[in-house]
């Protein structure tokens, strides 16, 4: 009943992705901030969120990233926009996280998440507390926090942005072999963290 509302195979099919491969989007160079927003904002946003920024910080950081890119449009080589955005986003995210730590200010959504969790006895909140997607993202962020930054980035690019290893190597400016080994290590570490998370959090607990 519920699943029917979402249509058949909603959970089995890979998400419909009519867009071409991310790096292939850049058929013509971006000429304005609007171009950047239309083509890359979601990419930048997801990246910032998975690199650990709260909603509020990600919003500020995304604006910063895109405005910097807009100011440098002339200098960005054709086809390298995404690389530039990626590098900028990683840098901005790193600064923002440092700043957030300095201020000892927990991420807003983490606060909500943690508060909800405490309120219900360290159990993962249910949909009426957090939606399924938000819950999954919160869990994912928690796992990613346990990864070293370089592994975290590679895993995000591979699993969430679905980039190929050569594309990842290009964005990270590392050799293909390094990208490959990092992704392997990232997956291994992720699996360990996942197992630990399953043990720590009693999934399937009854309300």
């Amino acid at each position: 009943m519920t699943s029917a509302a979402f249509g058949p195979n909603e959970h089995d099919d890979p998400p419909a992705d009519p867009a071409p491969r991310p790096l292939a989007i850049e058929v013509r160079p971006e000429r304005s901030l609007a171009d950047l927003v239309h083509r890359h904002l979601d990419f930048v946003w997801r990246l910032l969120r998975r690199l650990g920024l709260s909603d509020a910080d990600a919003e500020d950081a995304a604006q910063q990233v895109l405005l910097v890119a807009a100011s440098k449009l002339e200098q960005i080589e054709p086809g390298k926009t995404r690389t530039f955005l990626y590098g900028t986003a990683v840098h901005v995210a790193s600064n923002a996280r440092r700043s957030a730590r300095r201020q000892r200010r927990a991420h807003v959504d983490n606060e909500v998440y943690e508060a909800a969790r405490k309120a219900i006895g360290n159990r993962v909140p249910w949909p009426d507390e957090l939606t399924d997607l938000a819950r999954a993202r919160a869990l994912l962020n928690e796992l990613l926090e346990g990864l070293p930054d370089e592994l975290r980035r590679v895993l995000v690019l591979a699993e969430i942005e679905e980039l190929t290893l050569p594309e990842i190597a290009e964005l990270e400016a590392i050799p293909l072999g390094t990208a490959t080994s990092r992704l392997r290590r990232a997956r291994e570490r992720f699996a360990e963290l996942r197992a630990a998370q399953r043990q720590r959090i009693p999934f399937g607990a009854v309300e």
Binding site: S32, L33, D60, I160
Partner: protein, 304 residues
Amino acid sequence: MKRDVPSDAELFRAARLERAPESLRAALLGGYAASSARGSLCASGERKRELKRDGRPSWAAPAACAAAATLAALWWGSMPGDVGVPISAEQPMAKPTASAVSHELATAVPADFRTASEEASSSGAVAAARHASASAVSPSAVSLPAGSRPTKARTATVRDAPPPPRASASKTTDPSTPIREAAPAGTVGTSVAPAAPASEQPAPLTAKPSRSTFAEQLEILKRARSALRAGDSREALVVLDRHDDALRGGGLEAEARLLRIEALAASGRSAEARDLARRFIVDYPNSPLAARARRFAQPFASAE
């Protein structure tokens, strides 16, 4: 009720489906109208109405996305050295370029905005004469299109200039209320805009963007600052709104924006002030004014 453990694939899928919030998209596409609180104003019609109602400046128009890039480029990229009016050594803040003057002014502003601005524009004739006599005026100065350079030290009393016919410049906090600006006794040199002949009703300072002179911008800021100091933040906003075009893209844009932030905060519109302050910090991270803007951007900016 019992729930399944989300699989790895579900976790990644959830992340993959995440999209940037519409408020962010709208903020970026709408230039500097960044505001998470205004996230629902994506539809341009609604947005325009809303902008008009609450007196957002004209640069908040959706079409300003290109302007945002341009301004960002001006700041981060190659800022032309001779943005505005070279000013001779007799001026207290004598610096060769408007950008340098702007910087100088910026450092002077925190103590008392008047120190530089009122000195500089206490006599419009002097300011304009400086302008005209400055030997190093660059014909390519970006804020001074060829047709707008003052030919001589013409002065015009700045009085209650009617808002220009352009809708963007007439966004005041309450358009239906006729508001008289506090007309200063001083005068200001105005550029001779070809399409704006002098008459008994002076042409608005904001005939066209970037056609104003540095002295005009200074005068506008001075008036807004005076209103704010007198406790009339609404009037300050009216002045800034009315002359927004004149200030936009000029050498004193940062000062104007900061002034707007302060006026918004003073008038109780702290959310808007915060949003603008955040944008300010992003746009002018190295400006001496950024420290002041941070006070209004508490949630994001570092506390110190």
